[in-house]
Each structure stands twice: as structure tokens, then as C-alpha cells.
């Protein structure tokens, strides 16, 4: 469903991703793991259209979406839960969620979606009138997830969902993600915390310095030597 085909992309002179290819099938949960600076966030930014590949393509359902205008990507069903949450600090929880539904704005539809998100993430209902900026890291993560779900995405992109969170919060988030996966959501998760990521996903790719060095089913990937090398250096 979502495919990166030999993507070369970068910021200034040197490319960050070197001919990276990966694939996520409908209903799969895939992890992209690697150490800091490996290029994981760059990969997600390329999928959402914030970055345009210098070579290679990004495809959604075999349609080339390389360098797509990000709002168009949202309309096509790509939703992002970004690194650091990036919830809107001066807006309430409820307003943050409403912004998530910006592309499908009809009153009845939005209210229905809001109710569904509150059911799925009940903590958000308790917090609904709180300012986004006053929430804890874990609560913000729930909010960022809820906001992404408000657009009723086909593909959910998560950038380091466990970063900076207390272990109990991490468990909660990943439990919700597992439920989403069970319900058929297609997920691409970028994570430094390899162990955690590989527990909720079907498959994984290991990224090291902009190159995929290993891939395979999550259960086996955790024990491959390439993974250890990617984190600890070899």
C-alpha cells in the first residue's frame, strides 16, 4: 500500500537516505528502527511530502506521491503523529482534535469522529477542556494520536511515540496501537526503542546511516547482529 522505492533524499549537499526501499502492506504494522541520526524522521518527512526525493519514488497504492503537498497527503489518508508530539499549545484538547478533522469538516461527521476518539482514548475526554500546553508528555502523546485519528487515516505514521515518556505511559500508548492494528489500521512506526517497537509490529526494517541494513519479521529481527551493530557500532 505504501512504498518507498530507492529513495534518495537529504537537506543540504549530502543525502540522508541512500536508495532506501521499504514497503508496508495494507493492515500491516511495520517498524523502522535505528539509532539517532540514522534518517528515520527524514523517511517520514519524505512520505508526508515535506521533503521531495532527489531520486526514487514514494507510492501510495501505486500512485506516485513523491513531494506531495502535505494537505493533499492528509486528504489521501496519511496521518502523522510527529516527533515531540507537536500538539497546539494554545488550544484546548477538544480544539486540537477538531483541527485533526480539518479536511473532513461537516458538523455531524466531525462530532461523530470526536465521540469515537474519546471512546478510544477516554483520558482525552477527561482532559477535553485543558490547554494543550498544560498536558504532560504522555497526555500530549495520546492527544497527538487522537488528532491523527480524527482525519480517519488509511496509513498512520508515528515518529518516536515512546520518546520522553514514563514506562507506564509507553505501555498505555502501545496497547492502544495494538488495538488499532487489530482493527486493521496500517501503521508505520519509527522508533529508537527497538524492543518496544518490535512487540507491536509484524515486520521491521533497520536503518543505519541512511541505508537499510536488515529487515524481516519483528520477532526474529530483534536478535539479528545487524541490529546490535546499528545501535552500538561495529
Amino acid at each position: 500500500m505504501l512504498k518507498l522505492d530507492k529513495v534518495v533524499v537529504g537537506y543540504a549537499a549530502a543525502p540522508v537516505l541512500h536508495a532506501v526501499s521499504l514497503e508496508i502492506n495494507r493492515g500491516e504494522a511495520v517498524a523502522l528502527i535505528g539509532a539517532n541520526g540514522a534518517g528515520k524522521t527524514t523517511a517520514l518527512r519524505t512520505i508526508t511530502g515535506l521533503l521531495k526525493p532527489r531520486a526514487g519514488r514514494v507510492c501510495l497504492d501505486d500512485q506516485d506521491i513523491s513531494g506531495i503537498h502535505p494537505p493533499k497527503g492528509v486528504q489521501m489518508g496519511i496521518a502523522m503523529v510527529p516527533e515531540g508530539r507537536r500538539i497546539f499549545p494554545t488550544m484546548t484538547v477538544r480544539e486540537n482534535l477538531l483541527v485533526g478533522a480539518y479536511t473532513g469538516w461537516q458538523k455531524r461527521i466531525v462530532e461523530t469522529r470526536l465521540r469515537r476518539v474519546f471512546e478510544f482514548l477516554p483520558r482525552l475526554f477527561d482532559l477535553k477542556d485543558r490547554m494543550g500546553g498544560s498536558l504532560s508528555g504522555g497526555e500530549q502523546q495520546l492527544l497527538a494520536l487522537g488528532r491523527a485519528l480524527m482525519s480517519e487515516p488509511r496509513v498512520l505514521l508515528l515518529d518516536e511515540p515512546s520518546m520522553g515518556l514514563a514506562p507506564i505511559m509507553i505501555k498505555q500508548i502501545f496497547e492502544r496501537l495494538a488495538v488499532l492494528k487489530q482493527a486493521g489500521m496500517t501503521i508505520l512506526m519509527v522508533e529508537q526503542n527497538a524492543a518496544m517497537a518490535l512487540t507491536v509490529t509484524d515486520r521491521g526494517y533497520v536503518l543505519e546511516n541512511g541505508v537499510i541494513v536488515a529487515s524481516g519479521p519483528s520477532a526474529t529481527l530483534l536478535h539479528t547482529p545487524e541490529l546490535k551493530k546499528a545501535y552500538l557500532g561495529g
Binding site: 508526508t48 515535506l50 502535505p70 494537505p71 492528509v74 486528504q75 502523522m80 510527529p82 507537536r86 497546539f88 499549545p89 494554545t90 488550544m91 480544539e95 477538531l98 483541527v99 485533526g100 480539518y102 479536511t103 469538516w105 488528532r147 482525519s151
Partner: protein, 290 residues
């Protein structure tokens, strides 16, 4: 003039400053730009309002709406020609500021060419009617200006809180990249923000013009309103309102008790004093820059 009268005048003046400051803050919060054309949107509003009331004999409310539209469109023009092209080419912020200064010069000179260099008074649509609130005599004109300003500010708050566009503007101001990722067309939002800010300035221009006079160099009043935005807390509309009222009152009082020749200096002196004590303005908070 008794103290209560001065307070009334100060608050009236402050209300107009608040309207100008809100628009200025809005653009700064969404785009991060110090838009130096902003005082001229106010000036243009005053000139258009003059033409509407004096030449065409239409009511002041119509003048306010007409000026709001005219200045809003001017702001849109400035955004499309000077701001957006630089942003598109990833140019530096300073170039946008310089471009806005360029437009300010263009507007000032255009006004001088169209309306001539002489300051002109508005027709007195209130005929000097004076009401009494308690024991304080209040000019009907001041009541009109104050209430119009308050209506506009309330309308603005409702707009931001309950409309889809208002929500999108707030999201874009908080984090424009994230807004883009939630599907908001931030380019359109920026244009709409400019239109709104110019519109507010234009409407304030009619109010100021009717209070003082209309002239091509009215921009200096607008510049003082920018210090109101700083006093209140830069980038915060609530701060802009507060700063506007504080500036209006202090300026009027100091005009009487210190010297009216130093009004400009007082405005900026107050701003500096406030910043020494509260570096982010009266209501401003340290913002996480994204």
C-alpha cells in the same frame, strides 16, 4: 480636564490602539513577521472613511465597513506581492520587513497624491452630543468609538473560537508545519490573516480619523500602537488589547500632566519601562519557538 474625562478619552484612544495592535500581533504570531506596512493600513482606513462620510455622506458604520474591506484588500495585496514571493523562495525575514517598509512608503505617498497633503477633519456626525454616565459627562462620539471597538474585539474572539477558519488560524500561528500536516492550507491561512489584520487596522483608522483628523501621515499614530503590542506582550491578542488600553490612558494622562509634545516619546518610554520589568510584556509568556 477632570481626571474622569481624561480616563474616558484615554480608554477611547486605547481602544483604537488595541485594534491596531491586535492586527499587528496576529501577523507576527502566524507568520513571524513585523509588518511595517500595518500603520499605513490604518491610515488608508482613515482616508477611505473620510471620503465615505464627507464626500458621499454615508453613515459612520458604513465607513467602518468600507474601510475594513479596503484596508483588508490592501493588506492582501501587500502579502501577495511582497511577503509570499520572498517566503516561497525561502528568502530571509529581513527582506520581508524591508519590503513592508517599501509598501508603507508607497501607501503614504499614494495617499498624499490622492487626498492632498492637508489634514482633513471628519464631518461631526455626533454633533458634540454629550451624555452622562453617573456624574461623568461622556461625548457620544467617544461612546461610539469605544463600543465599536469592543464589538469588534468580541466578534474577533468568537471568530477564533467557533469558526473553522479561526481554528485554522490559531493552529497555523501555533505551529505552521504541524498545521500543514493536519491538512490546513497554510498559504491561504496566511493570506486570510493578513486580510483580517489589515481590516482591523482600517476600521481602527476610521475611529482614529473621526477622533483626530485624516491625513497621509497618520501612520505615526499607528506606529505608537505597535508599542502597545509590545507592552501587552508581543504576539498575544489579549496582550494587545491590554497594552492598547494602558498606552491610551497613560499617554492621555501624561499629555496633560507632562507635555503633549512628548506623546510619541512617552509611548516608547512606557514600552521600554514595561519591558525592563517584564521582558515578555504584561501578559506575554516565553514561547517555545518551533
Amino acid at each position: 480636564m477632570a481626571l474622569q474625562d481624561q480616563l474616558v478619552v484615554g480608554l477611547t484612544l486605547g481602544a483604537t490602539y488595541a485594534l491596531i495592535a491586535i492586527g499587528f500581533s496576529l501577523v507576527f504570531r502566524s507568520v513571524g513577521l513585523l509588518n511595517f506596512t500595518h500603520p499605513e493600513f490604518m491610515m488608508m482606513g482613515a482616508m477611505v472613511g473620510l471620503t465615505v462620510t464627507s464626500r458621499y455622506n454615508l453613515s459612520p458604520i458604513f465607513a467602518i465597513l468600507a474601510s475594513g474591506l479596503a484596508s483588508g484588500l490592501l493588506a492582501l495585496l501587500v502579502e501577495r506581492t511582497a511577503i509570499a514571493p520572498i517566503m516561497k523562495r525561502q528568502g530571509q525575514r529581513i527582506n520581508q520587513i524591508i519590503a513592508s517598509l517599501g509598501w508603507a512608503t508607497v501607501l503614504t505617498n499614494a495617499a498624499m497624491l490622492i487626498w492632498g497633503p492637508q489634514p482633513m477633519a471628519y464631518r461631526h456626525t455626533f454633533g458634540g452630543t454629550v451624555w452622562k454616565i453617573g456624574s461623568v459627562p461622556v461625548a457620544a462620539q467617544h461612546v461610539f468609538i469605544l463600543s465599536s471597538s469592543l464589538v469588534l474585539m468580541v466578534a474577533l474572539q468568537l471568530f477564533f473560537k467557533y469558526t473553522r477558519l479561526g481554528l485554522a488560524m490559531r493552529a497555523t500561528a501555533d505551529d505552521s508545519t504541524m498545521a500543514l500536516l493536519t491538512g490546513i492550507e497554510t498559504r491561504h491561512i496566511v493570506s486570510a490573516t493578513f486580510f483580517l489584520s489589515g481590516s482591523l487596522a482600517g476600521m481602527a483608522g476610521v475611529l482614529i480619523g473621526s477622533l483626530f483628523y485624516a491625513s497621509f501621515d497618520l501612520g505615526q499614530y499607528g506606529l505608537r500602537a505597535l508599542s502597545a503590542a509590545v507592552i501587552g506582550g508581543f504576539g498575544d491578542p489579549v496582550g494587545a488589547v491590554l497594552g492598547g488600553f494602558v498606552l491610551g490612558v497613560v499617554e492621555t494622562l501624561s499629555g496633560t500632566y507632562v507635555s503633549s509634545a512628548y506623546r510619541d516619546a512617552m509611548a516608547f518610554a512606557i514600552a521600554i519601562l514595561v519591558l525592563l520589568v517584564r521582558p515578555y510584556g504584561l501578559v506575554g509568556r516565553r514561547r517555545r519557538t518551533v
